[in-house]
């Protein structure tokens, strides 16, 4: 019995490790492919069909085109603005609301909480939201990508849950020392909640970095396009032509191929560099979020 189980366990380990190694390869290879392709000679890349295990030739031509593209530079700038201003506003409003909603003995809190959670399950729809944003006068302003998304209800609930777990006695003693609610929030509660604050910054930042859809309907002026909208034109709509001006149309097609890959790298490396440092936070964050509100 023991020996039989020992053998079974060994086979079990073997199957599991193989499955996970396959998963690692399937996940990593596409990223490696893109990296190799971005450094390849465009004529060789176009002629090649199938897998790449190293760059074909070596050329930085594609990166030169990407970095001299005003759209990408501007896109980075706009995204940076949306990230910094947006996340700051997100965090401020979420923290304040989470603080208020986590206070006991506030008569209207149950109603507020209900009204806020209800919005997670029912919404007016895309067109009415568009009309509101239009009526408020935010169309064609970067604020259109910030203000209508100022609070994420899901994040608010995570933060409220975490604030509720802080012992009330701390707050009581601060009150005796004459602190008001704003002081308590910013001087006591927030410093005690660094992990959840880190998680909120991460969640909001990922959301802002990724956002393209509402930007695409709220922004018409190309100078305001965030990076993702510029990327959409290059990657999905396939318009790399304006980045390879001066080349013949056959060359344009070839250079266009490598430009796509270089663009992916330029747009993804910043995230992948930051990501190992924040990994420990989001593991914690998901656990905090998993606590039933």
């Amino acid at each position: 019995m023991q020996a039989e189980n020992g053998l079974k366990n060994k086979a079990f380990d073997w199957i599991i490790n193989t499955a996970l190694i396959l998963l690692v390869i399937v996940t990593l290879y596409p990223l490696l492919y893109v990296t190799f392709a971005s450094f390849s000679e465009s004529s060789q890349l176009v002629a090649n069909k199938g897998f790449l295990f190293k760059p074909l030739g070596f050329s930085l031509e594609a990166y030169k085109s990407v970095f001299s593209n005003p759209g990408i530079i501007k896109g980075y700038g706009n995204t940076l603005f949306i990230l910094v201003v947006g996340v700051t506003l997100n965090l401020f409003l979420t923290a304040v609301a989470a603080y208020v909603l986590s206070r006991r003995n506030v008569m209207w809190n149950n109603l507020f909480t209900f009204l806020i959670i209800f919005t997670m399950f029912f919404h007016g729809g895309l067109i009415p939201l568009y009309l509101i944003v239009k009526n408020v006068g935010l169309i064609d302003s970067l604020w259109a990508t910030i203000v209508p998304f100022a609070v994420s209800t899901f994040n608010l609930i995570i933060m409220r849950t975490s604030f509720s777990a802080i012992p009330e006695s701390l707050e009581e003693s601060a009150k005796i020392d004459g602190a008001n609610h704003l002081t308590i929030l910013f001087r006591i509660i927030l410093p005690l909640s660094k992990p959840v604050v880190a998680v909120m910054i991460l969640y909001y930042a990922v959301e802002k970095w990724n956002a393209w859809f509402y930007a695409s309907i709220f922004l018409k002026d190309r100078d305001l396009f965030p990076l993702q909208l510029v990327l959409r034109e290059i990657l999905i709509a396939n318009s790399t032509d304006n980045m390879s001006t001066g080349a013949s149309s056959a060359d344009q097609f070839m250079i266009g191929e490598t430009i796509k890959y270089a663009t992916i790298i330029v747009a993804t490396v910043p995230i992948l560099v930051v990501y190992p440092f924040v990994q420990k936070y989001f593991e914690k964050g998901v656990m905090i979020g998993a606590v039933k509100g």
Binding site: D13, G124, L126, I132, L272
Partner: protein
């Protein structure tokens, strides 16, 4: 109402209201911006959804436009598109529940069985990674890899696939959509189950080992039941979003050639409303979507409460 707050029943509502306000004035003041946000960007659009029952014209505004009753709903239900987009939405949703929902659970179970800590770390780090790549970039990669010269396409040609761009084939849209979805999110969505796994009582495993249970049996009879409450909650949430198929991804990947299998309710709302300016019609479709979602969520929660006693509310 009998017996409701008998202790304070000698305080009238008005007295309690005034006392509460005096005590918590600053809190209410702090709440104003957030409440305004919810009123303007969540509740006003709910009110704005009345244009689904009107013939909205931007000149006349929401109030001034004329009522047409259920006209737009009737048009929608009797149109050629109704069954197509409803079917696509339901099919893509069902596919993602069947294939996408269990995937992270399986991954979490596998990762849980790895005994080499360094290898475990590597698997986790790598599997979360694609979640952080933006959707636009992911879709760019999908388009490129499934193109006639792309790596996935070349790989499949070896097995007899004809080599045409996969996203141009209506029959392949859903598999490409679902598989790439799993590729991107399996790691990220497994985190919550891995977190739940950490909470399982270790003594159960010891007892099982003494009884001679193999590791497969331990996984099936201890680990899996241990994370069942988490699975249930995630499932209810998933059901509530049944008709909210990730339309941003669909809009990035579909094309008129693949509308017949790819067009879902929300992508239809987007096209009719914002590209073709059918404001009212499109709002009616959107409202239909929201209502069905709400009903699904409430039913899933109800069933779960009856069946295994765990529910969202």
């Amino acid at each position: 109402m009998s017996g409701y707050k008998t202790a304070s029943s000698h305080n009238s509502f008005k007295q309690r209201f005034i006392r509460d306000f005096k005590l918590n004035k600053l809190l209410y003041f702090m709440m104003i911006p957030v409440l305004l946000y919810y009123v303007i960007f969540h509740y006003a659009p709910m009110y704005g959804a009345v244009i689904a029952f009107k013939d909205f014209s931007p000149m006349k505004g929401i109030m001034g436009s004329e009522w047409v009753g259920l006209q737009h709903f009737r048009d929608f239900f009797s149109s050629y598109y109704f069954w197509r987009i409803l079917k696509n939405t339901v099919v893509i949703s069902l596919y993602s529940i069947i294939f996408m929902f269990p995937a992270p659970i399986i991954l979490a179970l596998l990762i849980n069985e790895v005994r080499n800590q360094a290898f475990k770390r590597v698997v986790q780090t790598v599997s979360y990674m694609p979640y952080f790549i933006s959707l636009v970039v992911i879709c760019g990669m999908i388009t490129d890899f499934t193109n006639s010269n792309g790596i996935i396409n070349s790989l499949f040609s070896l097995f007899g696939y004809d080599g045409a761009a996969m996203l141009q084939k209506p029959g392949l849209f859903r598999p490409v959509y679902i598989l790439s979805e799993i590729w991107q999110k399996i790691g990220w969505e497994s985190i919550i189950y891995i977190a739940a796994l950490a909470g399982i009582d270790q003594e159960q495993y010891e007892a099982a080992r003494i009884d001679g249970a193999s590791r497969l049996k331990q996984m099936l009879y201890i680990t899996l039941p241990g994370i069942l409450p988490t699975i249930t909650i995630m499932f209810i949430l998933r059901m509530g979003n049944m008709l909210n198929v990730g339309f941003e991804k669909i809009i990035l990947l579909y094309s008129p050639v693949t509308y017949e299998t790819a067009d879902v309710i929300s992508s239809f709302v987007y096209r009719k409303g914002l590209l073709e300016f059918g404001w009212s019609y499109s709002s009616a479709v959107g409202l239909f979507n929201s209502l069905v979602n709400l009903i699904l969520l409430i039913s899933a929660n109800y069933i779960s409460r009856k069946v295994n006693k765990s529910s969202l509310w």
